[in-house]
């Protein structure tokens, strides 16, 4: 058997320890993929309906054309969608500035028996697109082209 230098032995030991550690963390992250998520998507809600007495968060896009203000001036109804499922939401209160149709939202609240999600708090979710104000009147497709043209 050939002698291994002490520093090589330490290197191999550390690499094995790090690989084991990274493996453990990846497994934990995989196991936590539902618990560590900040919100449920509409399709998650459709697959596993939450009980009406449990506070949950619902996240997705505000469907275009679905937002309706009610006569009392503070209540808004809209539909949250992830492209696969749709959940109607009702909320009364102050809305964040970025809460608009076609953008992301996280609603905190409970589902009601008739399927409407009763939100008691709204958080606007900003997406990864950063577009200058001058380009705001374009559609998403036009804006993407305009952004690409600036490069």
């Amino acid at each position: 058997m050939t002698m291994i230098k002490a520093k090589h032995q330490r290197l191999v030991l550390i690499l094995i320890a790090l690989a084991a550690l990274v493996g453990a963390v990846l497994l934990a992250a995989w196991a936590l993929r539902n618990q560590a998520s900040y919100f449920y998507l509409p399709s998650d809600m459709a697959a596993h309906p939450s009980s009406p007495d449990r506070e949950v968060r619902l996240g997705g896009m505000v469907e275009r054309g679905s937002m309706h203000n009610e006569a009392d001036g503070v209540t808004v109804r809209f539909v949250v969608t992830d492209g696969k499922a749709r959940v109607p939401v009702r909320f009364s209160g102050i809305r964040p500035a970025l809460f608009v149709e076609g953008s992301g939202v996280v609603a905190e609240g409970k589902s009601s028996p008739d399927g409407t999600f009763l939100a008691d708090n709204l958080l606007a979710k900003h997406d990864e697109r950063y577009v200058p104000r001058e380009l705001k009147d374009m559609t998403a497709q036009q804006a993407r082209q305009a952004v690409a043209a600036t490069k």
Binding site: A36, S37, P96, L98, E128, R129, Y130, V131
Partner: protein, 249 residues
């Protein structure tokens, strides 16, 4: 690599490298901030609050890069017993800890108008907070070891390596889990005409700010390394003098 194991040789290099990192760093960072605050456009949805980006993203990047430097130095200390590795890791820890703190603070200021909340316990925010606590833990461990005379601390080095596990978690938190924080806007190749989701008008000042703050970070680390080495040298001299006096008495 062991060429710089000789502190005198390292100090000669560090003496001119420190100002030549700091001066362009300060220049580029200030120019980038002025550009970002006055020249760059406002965002279509966020308005002027998008300008927090030019502090937030460099500090997030430096928080993660700082820990990668600590992990690399820790590896060099454990495997090769490099005499400057522990010094480098200790030097990087303090500006490192400052970075996630600034990142969390600026993000919180942005979150209030954009999301409607100062703080949420989502994957990205929580893992960044964990990074701040890791830095504080590392500083406490490494300083305690240095005070107890060892100088080189095996425990701190192991902690530095294990803590590196948090770095990929921070990066992938927005991809693995549904989170309130947006997914990455910048893809490599974005500057070259790739498919970055951020308009070039934001991307260029952001890139300049990141470069400037990184240069400052490097300069501060070198400055702190020189301070730590000088302190160790002064202490060794005092100890030698005390020994001589003892022998004469």
């Amino acid at each position: 690599m062991h060429g710089f194991a000789n502190p005198a040789r390292f100090l000669r290099l560090a003496r001119w490298l420190t100002p030549s990192l700091l001066a362009p760093g300060v220049l580029i960072a200030s120019a980038a901030l002025i550009w970002g605050l006055t020249g760059a456009p406002a965002d279509r949805l966020q308005g002027d609050s998008v300008r927090i980006l030019y502090i937030h993203v460099p500090s997030a990047w430096l928080g993660m890069a700082g820990w990668m430097a600590i992990a690399g130095a820790s590896l060099a200390e454990i495997v090769w017993r490099h005499p400057l590795a522990g010094v480098a890791a200790r030097a990087a820890a303090v500006p490192g800890a400052f970075s996630p703190a600034l990142c969390l603070l600026s993000g919180s200021l942005w979150g209030r108008p954009a999301w409607g909340t100062w703080w949420v316990w989502d994957g990205r925010l929580t893992s960044m907070l964990v990074l701040l606590f890791l830095y504080l833990g590392y500083i406490a461990l490494a300083d305690a070891a240095a005070r107890d005379g060892g100088g080189q601390s095996r425990v701190a080095a192991v902690f530095g390596l294990v803590g590196a596990v948090n770095i990929p978690i921070i990066h992938y938190s927005v991809l693995w889990w549904n989170s309130l924080h947006q997914p990455p806007s910048i893809s490599f190749g974005g500057l070259g005409g790739g498919s970055s989701a951020m308009a070039a008008a934001f991307l260029w000042p952001l890139f300049a700010a990141t470069l400037g703050f990184s240069l400052i970070f490097g300069g501060v680390v070198l400055m702190r390394m020189r301070t730590i080495l000088a302190g160790a040298q002064a202490e060794a001299r005092l100890r030698r003098k005390a020994l001589v006096r003892e022998a004469q008495a």
